[in-house]
Amino acid sequence: MPEVAVDLRHIIKEFPGQRRDVTFRAVDDVSLEILEGEFFALLGPSGCGKTTMLRMIAGFELPTSGEILLRGKAMQDVPPFHRPVNTVFQDYALFPHMTVLQNVMFGLEMEGVKKAEASRRADEALDMVRLPQMADRKPRQLSGGQQQRVALARALVKRPQVLLLDEPLGALDLKLRKEMQIELAEMQDELGITFIFVTHDQEEALTMADRIAVMNGGKVLQVGTPEEIYDTPNSRFVADFIGETVFLPGLMAGKDGEFGWVQLDGVETKIKASLAATDIAENQSVTVAVRPEKINLFPIKGKVRYPDGSSDEASEYKTALLRDPDINLVEGIIKSANYIGTDTRYTVSVGGHDIVVRIQNYGLRSDTHFEPGQHVNVFWDAETVRILVQ
């Protein structure tokens, strides 16, 4: 069991509001344990309190109440320049009056490292971020991506226990972002330093992080691995914020262990789906979260074609499917079809509900294509659909 690197206990942060008697609660009772060597993401929309969290760990803000422990040590009275934590700022905050090398050396000089030694270690750090030839340039002579690497080198040269990254890739263009995502993850693997990074980009969090904390309105809604967060969201917000989700309102009709049955308005068949919480009561109004790529379609009449080229009669296929108790199968009408290359997006009307379905175009287009107005069978596995509290 790895040790806890950063332990946040019931952190509350309030800022003075517009009026004197009103305070704004930016962080509302957050408790998190971030493990040694972990790549941890704080994910949420802007204004959710994620950057405030980061600034409190760095020491730029003090929590109104609660405790921050770094490797078990309370950080309450420790100023930022004594914390074993370094930050890569969103706008990099490179010192414009210093060269790249001087920027990287700055932190070492503050530690009292001798100039020659500091210069040698700074060179090493610049090598690591693959910018050795830029040492004598001023930051403004570098591109955004290069500045980002310098900021990274400047923080990493201090060999911090925890590296904080505030939207580190936000200012880069898409291609560079993708490259840096992979590079950052590799670097973190190599150095074994705990990385905590703040992002509003769900894709970035899913690709890079070992674990993600999804935040909204100052609260942490869910903590888990990318798979857990994506496949088993525990709230409507998480399901909505990460990936694409269609929400279908209905009533709880029954439950058994981890599964429940929901009666959707206008749909005869009861939908079986996994429960986000075990305390959902019968007849409670709930919402069923459906991911477009977890749903499948096949025609009501005619043949079903498989990726390997073989085919079956639709009616036989349906009978086979219905033998599995975990399969939900309903009928629907195609409302629209949008071809987007790798997939086709269909909007299917099921008992008045619009369900978005993404079908991969594995064969020729004619193999998998459905026309608007066509009646189709819609099916999915109960495990891939979540019942959430309304």
């Binding site: 930022p80 010192f95 414009p96 700055f106």
Partner: protein, 311 residues
């Protein structure tokens, strides 16, 4: 489709009223000339008097109305210390006056720059009670008429001196002098220094100071390694502006000086009372050149504040 309902636009003849077009073009040409004349007139009023002054500072005659030929003797005269004037009973040579101006200007600039920079830092970086009030009354010296400020200072000093002299009657009486001039200059210069330094500071990315602290620099190191070097162009620009204003000041100086403390402006003014002389022209020309130089450097430094590490 609904193609039948759409009709092609009818191709029509292009009709141009040639006479009207010619008329419009002519109006536009007249307008162009008008703009040019406008600018010419404006610059003429601005610069013609100064041009005449500079021209006649090279005139080889005491007369200021007739061109007699080129000479630089008025300039060499200043530096050979022959020109002088009697001001309020004491004779001060122009060179002495220049020295006075430079000493007063330097000291006033030093104090105003240090105080103004500290004040700008406090206003931009810290929250304290009464900040808004302080912020708004700071610019008062820039707005109120200089004569009012000069009188109020003179009055203030008088009250202070009267009180001091009353308290220690056996000592020689305290009175106006270098000190009062310098304080007067510091008073109006602080506001200008704050305006310039503050603009620079407001332009500076606050994350830079956070980054320094994050990298292990304490408050003192952060200030001297990051904040100060980045505000330095602003401070120098403010100081140059203050120095120029101090050199050029007449009203505050004249009303708060002691007997014998004549600055360049006071001497020139004294000389002017006996009529415009070529020496006055020469000194004025030198002052204009010097001021333009200082303000130019100041503006150049402020212009560089575009590069302050934002973004």
């Amino acid at each position: 489709m609904a193609q039948g309902t759409l009709t092609r636009p009818v191709r029509s003849e292009v009709n141009i009223d040639v006479a009207k077009m010619r008329r419009d073009l002519r109006v536009r040409q007249i307008g162009k000339v008008g703009y040019f004349l406008n600018a010419l007139a404006a610059y003429f009023f601005l610069w013609a008097p100064i041009l005449v002054l500079v021209l006649f500072s090279f005139n080889d005659s005491r007369s200021v109305a007739q061109w007699q030929g080129f000479t630089t003797r008025w300039y060499t005269g200043i530096f050979e210390n022959v020109a002088g004037t009697s001001v309020r009973g004491s004779t001060t040579s122009i060179l002495d006056a220049l020295r006075n101006s430079l000493v007063i200007g330097s000291l006033a600039t030093l104090f105003a720059t240090v105080l103004g920079t500290a004040l700008a830092l406090a206003i931009v970086r810290y929250k304290f009670p009464g900040k808004r009030v302080l912020d708004s009354i700071l610019y008062l010296p820039v707005i109120i008429p200089e004569i009012a400020q000069a009188i109020s200072l003179a009055l203030f000093f008088k009250i202070v001196f009267d009180t001091i002299n009353l308290m220690r009657p056996d000592q020689p009486p305290a009175t106006y002098g270098y000190g009062t001039i310098i304080i007067g200059h510091v008073v109006f210069n602080i506001a200008y220094v704050v305006i310039v330094v503050r603009a620079r500071l407001a332009d500076m990315n606050p994350r830079l100071e956070e980054a320094a602290r994050d990298l292990g620099a304490n408050e003192w190191q952060t200030f001297w390694r990051v904040t100060f070097p980045l505000m330095l162009p602003g401070i120098v620009a403010g100081a140059l502006l203050a120095f120029t204003l101090s050199l050029d000041d007449y009203i505050v100086t004249a009303m708060n000086r002691g007997i014998g403390d004549a600055t360049l402006t006071v001497v020139v003014f004294g000389m002017m009372r006996r009529g415009v002389s070529p020496e006055v022209n020469a000194i004025s020309t030198l002052m204009i050149i010097f001021s333009i130089l200082l303000i130019g450097i100041s503006l150049l430094l402020q212009g560089r504040s575009a590069v302050t590490g934002r973004g």
